[in-house]
Every structure is written in structure tokens, then in C-alpha cells.
Amino acid sequence: MTRRKFIKKLINTGVMVMAGAWCLAKKTIPRKFIRAVKSDSFPGSLKPLRDIKCESKWSG
């Protein structure tokens, strides 16, 4: 192996190691949570509020 090839290989390996470390670090650093913005309107249809005093049919 020539000196030029060796240095090229060394640089490539170094770059790959750095990229790998960056990916790992990105995964381990806690992500900053940003709230979603309230939408201007509801995409479905709206209905009037009916009697809420009856027990729900839904579980929970």
C-alpha cells in the first residue's frame, strides 16, 4: 500500500467513525419537545352539544 492510499483510507475511516458517533449522539440526546399549533378549523363536521349527562358507551 502506498503512503497516499494509506492516508486516504485513514481519512475515510475517520469520517465514517465520526458519522457513526454523530448518529448515536443524535439518538441519545433527549429531544426537545415542541407543541403543535392549534389548527384554525376542524377538518370534519361539527355537531351541536347534546345531553352530556348520560353515561358514555365508550370504554374508559
Binding site: 399549533v37 355537531k47 352530556i52 374508559g60
Partner: protein
């Protein structure tokens, strides 16, 4: 431009015009928007025992609210008509946080539940309403699968008084196959909630052939005891064939009674049975002297012998929020 939602462990990378897995968090012109904020699909007044919460203001009514959407896709979902609905195809009420707090007060409910689907996906609506409710002396209750990232969870817990959190299974494989989720974030959410000082009750839905083996139940119970404490109330709930699991039979009484026995045998102090009638499985007993403290049938309280949160016979303090 794509946006990344950091709310839950799915961390969806959302293309313009598309929504995350929950269907309700949408990339509109490069901005992450919640399209269900202030638009619940369901508002009802339920008994608190229906959540189920057995150690939080027993016998009280709770205003219960939900929007469409969920970040999990459980094949057995009992509420799939709303949890798996697209907002575009659904109907909702216009009810901003202030209105919800007003409704709670008008109906003399001491607490407000964010429930039915999963309050995680309508996080901002839950958070803002809970903050306002706290100012109005209304208690906040979450009924959730706990599939959320740590930072938003910690922020929300500041305004929460009690939660019923599902622990649907005790293996990652179960969560992946049945719920399209993972186990670890749920365990983290449970531990964080308990550590925050709020009342936490846990629900485990027992599905025949999938998570009903005694060794699986034993493992789940031991995890709760080791990580959340023996005073954590646990509800074993019966499965009914629904949604994509109509081929399985309902959970038998025998399985639920066995699960309760395992739970109590492993040292959990309050183990309940839900979704099926059980003579003793709905009652609260003193873990110290074994006397009957709260007698329940369905969602009704027949007898409540607690004295300021203590057993009237031996004086043991019972974990809960009683007034």
C-alpha cells in the same frame, strides 16, 4: 418541508399535507398542527369507577372528554370507532378549554377525565384544559396507554392528579404485534407518573391466548410491585371480541379470578377485576387486617367504611385520594 413530531416514541417524520400515525397531528405548510384542539368527539358524565379509578374520590361523577385519534392501533380496541377514525370523516363539538372547565363546574363534577381514546394525541388540548381546570379547583384525570416521550409527559404530569395507565402486556413482542407500539416507553411513563406523586392505577386487559398465561401475569405483577410499589391498584380487565380480534373468545371469569389471586399472592395490595361481575374482585379490602373497606357492584358504591383514608378497624392508611 417535513416536520418531526416529538410527542410520542413514534417520532413521526411528517410530509406536508400528511398526518402522523395518530391521524390528528398534521403538517400544514411546514408547521406541526393539532387539528382536534378544542374539538372533542365525545363529552359525557361518567361514574369515576368506570375509568376505572377505585382509589380516587369514590362514588363521584367525572366529566369525560375525548377527541378522535390514537398513537397506538390495538387490534382489540374497544373504542376503535373513535380511536382509529380520521378527523376528516368524524363529527365533533366545538368546545375550547374554557368551555370544558365551565361544563365541569356547571355539572358539579369535582374532576375532569381525558379518556376514551388517548389524551396523549390531543396533548395540547389536554394540557391547556388541565392548566385551566387546576386554577378552577377541578382535578385532572388521565386514562391513557402511556405511550409518550419523557419531556412532554413530565410537563403534563404537573397538572394531573390521577391516572389510569394501561400496561397491556409485559413483553415487547406483545406491544409490537397487538398494539403497534413498544413496551419500554410505557414502563418509563408508569414509573415517571408514580414518581411524580400522583395517584396511579394500572389496567391490564387479559386477552385469551395472547397474555393470559399465569407466568405472563406473574411477570407483569412482579414488575409493578418492584417498580411502582405494592400499594399500586391493579385492574385485571376482561376482553370482549372487538375490532380486529373478533375471532377470540371473551376472557373467562376463571382467568380473571386466577389473575387476581396471582396479583395478591405476589404481594400487590389492591387487585381488582373489571368488565365482568365479581363478588369480591370489585371491593377494596384492608391489606393489613383484611376487613372490607369499600363494597362495589359495577360502578356503584354500596358501602364506604374508610375514615379519612384509613381503615376504621386497624387504622392502616390506604393509598388514594379520598376527598
Amino acid at each position: 418541508m417535513k416536520v418531526q413530531c416529538e410527542l410520542c416514541p413514534k417520532i413521526c417524520l411528517i410530509a406536508p399535507g400528511q398526518s402522523g400515525e395518530c391521524r390528528v397531528r398534521v403538517n400544514i405548510d411546514g408547521v406541526l398542527r393539532t387539528v382536534v384542539y378544542g374539538y372533542p368527539c365525545s363529552i359525557h358524565i361518567d361514574p369515576i369507577e368506570k375509568k376505572p379509578l377505585f382509589h380516587f374520590l369514590p362514588g363521584s361523577k367525572i366529566l369525560s372528554v375525548a377527541t378522535v385519534g390514537c398513537n397506538l392501533h390495538c387490534k382489540n380496541c374497544q373504542n376503535w370507532e373513535i380511536s382509529q377514525a380520521n378527523p376528516e370523516e368524524s363529527q365533533a363539538f366545538a368546545c375550547p378549554p374554557q368551555e370544558l372547565v365551565k361544563l365541569t363546574n356547571q355539572n358539579h363534577c369535582p374532576s375532569l377525565a381525558y379518556t376514551y381514546t388517548d389524551p396523549i394525541v390531543y396533548y395540547e388540548y389536554t394540557y391547556d384544559t388541565a392548566k385551566l381546570a387546576r386554577q378552577a379547583d377541578i382535578r385532572n384525570v388521565l386514562v391513557t396507554a402511556g405511550y409518550i416521550n419523557e419531556e412532554p409527559w413530565k410537563q403534563l404530569l404537573k397538572y394531573v392528579d390521577a391516572a389510569n395507565i394501561d400496561l397491556k402486556g409485559i413483553t415487547d413482542d406483545f406491544y409490537r404485534r397487538v398494539c403497534s407500539g413498544t413496551l419500554k416507553p410505557v414502563q418509563n411513563a408508569l414509573v415517571l407518573a408514580k414518581g411524580s406523586g400522583i395517584l396511579v392505577e394500572v389496567t391490564n386487559l387479559i386477552i385469551p391466548t395472547l397474555n393470559d398465561k399465569p407466568e405472563q401475569i406473574g411477570r407483569l405483577v412482579r414488575w409493578i410491585k418492584a417498580n411502582m410499589g405494592s400499594d399500586t391498584p391493579l385492574h385485571f380487565s376482561g376482553f370482549y371480541p372487538r375490532y380486529k380480534m373478533q375471532h377470540l373468545p371473551p376472557t373467562s371469569q376463571k382467568t380473571l379470578e386466577l389473575a387476581r389471586q396471582i396479583g395478591m399472592g405476589e404481594g400487590l395490595e389492591y387487585v381488582y377485576i373489571g368488565n365482568l361481575f365479581s363478588k369480591e374482585g370489585e371491593n377494596t379490602y384492608c391489606p393489613s387486617c383484611k376487613s372490607l373497606l369499600i363494597e362495589r357492584v359495577g360502578y356503584s358504591i354500596l358501602k364506604n367504611r374508610l375514615k379519612d383514608g384509613n381503615c376504621p378497624d386497624c387504622g392502616k392508611e390506604i393509598n388514594g385520594v379520598w376527598k
